[in-house]
Symmetry: C2
Subunit: 660 residues, 2 copies
C-alpha cells in the first residue's frame, strides 16, 4: 500500500528527475522513475539526518550505489531541505553546478560518497558500517548509544554484477554488520537488455551464502511493504540485510517502462508528458513541487530535533565519562594527538626493509592515534601492518583495530574510503604493490574524494625476486603517480619511511600511497628529521663543488646511486645524488627549491629506478638517461634480477662516463 | 580410497615439490603437499593430453588457478612426460629456468595460462570453456565431436575470495558451461591464518546461486572419492561443476600441516625430512622418483594414442565435410583470410565518432574472419561492438559470436585471455575507457602472455561530457601505455580507427587497446591506406619549408592541432602537425624515421592530448610544452569542458607564440 501523500511525494521526485534530465539533455531517468518509492520510504520513514547539518556525526548514512540515479538523490536533498535549490536542480549536469551527472562527495551537501563506477558504493557502505560498529564498541558505555546509526544503500543489478560487491558482501556478512541495510532495485534490465541475457543468479541464495538476512522479493512500488521490510532488516542486529525490491525501470513511461532505452538517455519532452499523464501529473509546469509534497518531505525540523536530542545525550555522556567524552570530541573534530610525531621520531634508522620500518611506524603511532585502523588483504605478515597488542575487528571484538580483509583488494580500497568518509577513523590498508592493479578504481575514488586513506604497498619491485613477473611491479609506480591527488612516496630507508608515515597521517586532503621494499635496505644518514620527505626530493649526498652530473633515485635504488657516486668521485667525476621519494611533493615546491636541487644548467642527469622509465624524461631532460625496466620481470633471486636487468651502480657509472 | 600406486605417485609429486622449494630456498610447499591427490587424479584418470604435443588442439585444458602451487604442476609435467626435466625442476625459480615461481605461459610446455594473481586462472578457464563450447557448436557435425574437451581448474580459497571469481562463476553458470570443472582445494587456511577469520561463506550455496552443480565436500586425499566426483561432474553437461575437496595445507608435515606457515616458505631441510618420514618416504635421496611412479605416470604413449585417434577422426571429418574441414584447419593453424583487409579498406572515412568507425570495422571484418568473437561489459550499444546478423553466444545458441559479459569487466578480460589461449578465437572486448581500471590485472596478463586480445575502450576523455569525473579518463591512457607489450592506439578519425583494427587483427604477439571517442570527429585526409597508423606517428599536415614548431596530438585533439596550424600560418608561424596515435608503434621505428617526423634540431614542440601529460616530456623535450589535463574532470557538456580545461586550438596557438 502506498498512501496518496506518499505517492504525491514520490511522483514529485520522479518528475523533478525527468524534468532535470530533459533540461540537461543528458542523464538517466529509468532508475529515478523506478526506484523513487524505495529511496523515498527510507528517507521519509527511517533516515535519521539533519538537512541543516549534513556533517552530523551520528546521522544515518545513505549511499546511492547506482550513482547514475543521481537525480533521485538530488530530488531528495532538495525536498528534505538540504542546501540544494530548485535552481541547482535546473542546472543538473552543468559546469560548476551542485548537481553533477553522478553524485560527488564534496560538491553537494548530503552526498555521502562519490558513486558512478558500479559496485563502489556497495563496498564503501561496508566501510561506513565497520566504522559505526567499531566506534559504537569503543564509545557506547552503560547504555549510552552515542554512536548508533544505520547505513542504507540503494543498489542496482549493475552493482551486484561487479565482483567488488561479492567481495564486500562476503566480508559484511562475515563481520555481522547488523546496521547495514541494502535495498536492491531489481528491475531486470541492464543496458544490453533483459538481465536474462547474462545475469540469472539466485540472489536470495547468493546473499544467504554470505550470511545476510535476505528479505523479499517485495513490490518496490509499495511503500508499506518497503517499510515492513526495513523494520525487519533493522530487527536483525546480527546480520546485514538486503531487501530485494522488484521494480520497473522507467516506471510510468508508456513507451519506455521496462526497457533498456529508459536507462541512459532523457525521456524527451514528449515522452515525459506522456509519462506525467500516465501517472496523473500536471503537464503544464516543469519542475513542479506541490505544496503538500514540499511540506510532507521537509525534514529540517525533525532533523534538527533529532540532532538536538543526540547533542543532549552527548552532553550527559561527556559529564559522566570525561575522558571518553574528550576522546570522542577530538575524534569527531579530527584533532590528532600530535605527540605521535615524537613517537615516530624515536624510531631508529636501522638497516631494514622499508616494510619493516613501516610496521614500526604503525606501531609507534597507533597507541597514540586511536583513529588508526586497518589491515591487509591477507598479507598482513608480509606487509607488516598488524597493530600489536590490538584485537582483530570481528563480530566478537568490534573494538579491535586490526582488520582481516581477506583476499579482496578491490573491496578493501572501497571499505577504506567508507571508513574515512564516515569519520573518526584513519584507515590504512595493505597488499603487495602488484595488487594495486586489483583496486585501482577504489584508490582513484579516494583521490577524487580527497579522503585520508593510507595505502601500504610492499614488495615494490623485482627486489621481491623469485615470485616472478606476475608479482613484480613495473608500471604500477607510474600508474600511481599519474592519479591526480594521490601522493606517492617510495622511501629509501627506515628514516624516509617513518617520515612518509608522518606525512600520510598529517595529510587531510587526500590519500597517500607508501611504496615499500620487501628486501632489506641500508640506513642512510639524514638530518632533516621527521619531515625528511616533505619536499619530495632532496640532496642525499652532494659532491664537493659544482656537480658534473645529477643522479636521481628512489627507494632501493638510492643506495646504488650513492655507490656510483663514490666510484665516480674516484674517477674525478663529481656527482650529486638526489633522493626523490615523491614526484608529487617535489612538484608542489617553489621554483627556487626545485632549482636548488636540479639546477637548470646541469644537463647531465641520470635517473635510476627499478620500474618503468616513463615520466622520468621530465626530470632528466633531453640529454639525460633513465635507467629502469620497461619490460616484464622474471623469476629468479633478486640480486640476479638487478644484475640481469642492469639496475646497478655500474650502469649509473657507465651512463655518467658516456655523458662526459 | 587411494591405492598404493596412487599414493606412491602422489608422494613423488609432493616431495619433488618440497625438495625443489627447499633447493630454491623460496616457494610454496603447502598447496603441493595438500592438493597433489586432486591434481594427480585429474591427470592420471581423466586428462586427455599428449605430453609430446602440448599444443594438440582438442586436449583437455588444466588450469592451476592457485599459481603459487606451481611445483605441483611442474611435477606433473615432468612425470607425465613433457619437456620438463628433473634438472629443470632442480632449477626451480632460477634465472632462465623453465620452472619459474608461478606458472608462466610460453615458458614451460604444458602450462596453459600464467597464474599467480589470484582469481585470474578461475576466470581464464571460463574463456577456454566458452571457446570450446562455441567451436564445438560450429564444427561438430553429424556426431563427429571434433571439438570436445574439458577444462579442469584447481583453485583455492584465495581464488574464491577475489571478486573476479564471482563474476566469472556467475557468467559460467548462466552460460551452462558443462565442460568446465573446478576442483576447489578447500584447506581452510590463508596467509593470515584460518579462513574463519574472514572467509566464512557457504560455498555450496554460493555456487548453487550461480547455477553450478556443486559436489562435495569430499575428502581431497581420497583418490576414489575424487574420481567419483569428477565422473559426476562430467555427467552434467548442462552446468559447470565445482567439487569441494577438503584438504590439509602442508599435508604430512609434523610441524606445519594445517598451518599458514606452510603456505609461502620452504619447509626447510629438517622439516622436509620429518615430513618424508611421516609419509614413509625415503629420506636419503632428494628429488627421488621411484621407478614405479615414473612408469605409472608416464602419459606419452596413451597421449600419443589419444591424439592419433583424434587425427583419424579429423581425417574422416575433412573428407566428409570439405569446407568445414578446411575452415577448421585454417582456424587451428591461425590462418586468417587476408581479404578482410579489402573489406576494411572499403570503409569510407566519414565524419563520425571513432567508436562508430570501430563498429564498422568489426562488422566489415567479422563476416570474413569467423574467429572474431566478443562483446561488451553491458555497454555494447555504446561501445558499438555488436556483430550484426550474428546470434548471441548463449546456452541455446552457442554458435553465436556476440557475448553479453554483463557488468563484469575484470572477468571479461580474463575470459578474453582464455579464449585467445584456447585458440581458434580472436577475442575483442569492450567497455568505457574508465573501466579499464576494473580490469587492469587481466589486461596485464594478456600482455605478459603475448595474447591477441583486442580491447575496445570508448568514451576516451572529457569528451564524454556530463557523466563527470568518475567516467572521464585522465590517467588511463598513460596507464595503458606503461604496460609492457600492450600496444595502445588512439585514432583521430575513422581512417585511423580502421587502420588500428587492421593492426590489432594482424598482431599475433600481444594485445592491442583501441582508445575511441564518444563524440563525432571530423574525417581528416590521409593517403597511407590501411597501414596508416602502423608507424605510430606520421605527419598529418606539414607546413611549407622548415617548421618553426612541431605540434603532436592524438585522437580528438589532432583536429585542434590542425586548426591551430592554420591560424599560426596566418601569423607567419610554420607548424608541422604530427598525428601520434601510438607511442609504442612509434618507438619501434628506426632512428631515421623518428628523425624524419621529429627532427632533433626543432626544439619548439607542443603536445596536446585530453589526458595526463605524464610521459610527453620525452617527445616535446626541455623546451616543449605539454597541453593536457593533470587533474580530475567535471560534469558538464563536453564543449564546455574542453574550453574550461584549456584543451583548445587557442591554447596551442598561445603556447606556440610564447615560444617564438
Amino acid at each position: 500500500m502506498t498512501s496518496e501523500e506518499d505517492l504525491l511525494c514520490i511522483n514529485t521526485m520522479r518528475f523533478l528527475a525527468t524534468d532535470a534530465i530533459d533540461q540537461a539533455k543528458s542523464g538517466h531517468p529509468g532508475a529515478p522513475l523506478g526506484a523513487s518509492p524505495i529511496a523515498y520510504t527510507v528517507w521519509k520513514y527511517f533516515l535519521k539526518h539533519n538537512p541543516n547539518n549534513p556533517k552530523w556525526f551520528n546521522r544515518d548514512r545513505f549511499v546511492l550505489s547506482c550513482g547514475h540515479a543521481s537525480m533521485l538523490l538530488y530530488s531528495l536533498l532538495h525536498l528534505t531541505g538540504y542546501d540544494v535549490s530548485l535552481d541547482d536542480i535546473k542546472n543538473f549536469r552543468q559546469w560548476g553546478s551542485k548537481t553533477p551527472g553522478h553524485p560527488e562527495y564534496g560538491i553537494t551537501p548530503g552526498v555521502e560518497t562519490t558513486t558512478g563506477p558500479l559496485g563502489q558504493g556497495f563496498a564503501t557502505a561496508v566501510g561506513m558500517a565497520i566504522a559505526e560498529k567499531h566506534l559504537a564498541a569503543r564509545f557506547n558505555l552503560n547504555g549510552y548509544d552515542i554512536i548508533d546509526h544505520y547505513t542504507y544503500v540503494l543498489c542496482s543489478d549493475g552493482d551486484l554484477m561487479e565482483g567488488i560487491s561479492s567481495e564486500a558482501a562476503s566480508l559484511a556478512g562475515h563481520l555481522g554488520l547488523g546496521h547495514l541495510i541494502y535495498l536492491y532495485d531489481s528491475n531486470d534490465i541492464s543496458i544490453e537488455g533483459s538481465t536474462n541475457i547474462t545475469f540469472t543468479e539466485d540472489i536470495k541464495k547468493r546473499f544467504e551464502s554470505c550470511d545476510f538476512q535476505v528479505i523479499g522479493p517485495i513490490d518496490g512500488n509499495d511503500v508499506e511493504a518497503i517499510k515492513d521490510a526495513i523494520k525487519l532488516a533493522q530487527s536483525d542486529e546480527a546480520h546485514p540485510s538486503i531487501i530485494i525490491c522488484k521494480t520497473a525501470i522507467g516506471f510510468g513511461s508508456p513507451n519506455k517502462q521496462g526497457k533498456a532505452s529508459s536507462h541512459g538517455e532523457p525521456l524527451g519532452l514528449e515522452e515525459t508528458i506522456l509519462t506525467k499523464k500516465a501517472l496523473g501529473w500536471p503537464t503544464t509546469d516543469r519542475f513542479f513541487v506541490p505544496e503538500e509534497a514540499a511540506k510532507a518531505m521537509d525534514a529540517k525540523v525533525i532533523g534538527a530535533k533529532a540532532e538536538a536530542a543526540w547533542e543532549m545525550l552527548l552532553r550527559i555522556y561527556r559529564a559522566e565519562f570525561k575522558e571518553k567524552g574528550a576522546e570522542l570530541d577530538a575524534l569527531i573534530n579530527g584533532d590528532i594527538d600530535q605527540s605521535y610525531k615524537d613517537a615516530l621520531a624515536a624510531i631508529p634508522n636501522n638497516d631494514c626493509a622499508t616494510r619493516e620500518a613501516s610496521g614500526a611506524a604503525i606501531n609507534a603511532a597507533a597507541p597514540i592515534i586511536k583513529e588508526l585502523m586497518g589491515g591487509s588483504a591477507d598479507l598482513g605478515p608480509s606487509c607488516k601492518t598488524a597493530i600489536k597488542n590490538e584485537k582483530d575487528f570481528s563480530k566478537e571484538t568490534p573494538v579491535g583495530r586490526n582488520i582481516h580483509f581477506g583476499i579482496r583488494e578491490h573491496a578493501m580500497g572501497a571499505i577504506a574510503n567508507g571508513m574515512a568518509l564516515h569519520g573518526g577513523i584513519i584507515p590504512f590498508v595493505s597488499t603487495f604493490m602488484m595488487f594495486y592493479d586489483y583496486m585501482r578504481s577504489s584508490v582513484r575514488l579516494s583521490a577524487l574524494m580527497g579522503q585520508r586513506v593510507i595505502y601500504v604497498y610492499t614488495h615494490d619491485s623485482i627486489g621481491l625476486g623469485e615470485d616472478g613477473p606476475t608479482h613484480q611491479p613495473i608500471e604500477q609506480l607510474i600508474g600511481m603517480r599519474s592519479v591526480p591527488n594521490l601522493i606517492v612516496i617510495r622511501p629509501c630507508d627506515a628514516a624516509e619511511t617513518v617520515s612518509a608515515w608522518n606525512y600520510a597521517i598529517n595529510r587531510t586532503d587526500g590519500p597517500t600511497a607508501l611504496v615499500l621494499s620487501r628486501q632489506k635496505l641500508p640506513a642512510l644518514s639524514h638530518d632533516a628529521g621527521i619531515e625528511l620527505i616533505n619536499k619530495g626530493a632532496y640532496i642525499a649526498k652532494d659532491c664537493d663543488g659544482n656537480p658534473d652530473v645529477l643522479i636521481l633515485a628512489t627507494g632501493s635504488e638510492v643506495k646504488l646511486a650513492l655507490d656510483a657516486q663514490d666510484k665516480l668521485a674516484a674517477d674525478g667525476i663529481k656527482a650529486r645524488v638526489i633522493s626523490m621519494p615523491s614526484w608529487e611533493l617535489f612538484e608542489k615546491q617553489d621554483a627556487a627549491y626545485k632549482e636548488s636541487i636540479l639546477p637548470k644548467e646541469i644537463k647531465k642527469r641520470i635517473s635510476i629506478e627499478a620500474g618503468s622509465t616513463i615520466g622520468w624524461a621530465k626530470y632528466v631532460g633531453d640529454e639525460g638517461v633513465s635507467i629502469g625496466i620497461d619490460h616484464f620481470g622474471a623469476s629468479a633471486p633478486a640480486s640476479e634480477l638487478f644484475k640481469q636487468f642492469g639496475i646497478t651502480s655500474d650502469a649509473v657509472i657507465e651512463a655518467a662516463k658516456k655523458m662526459k
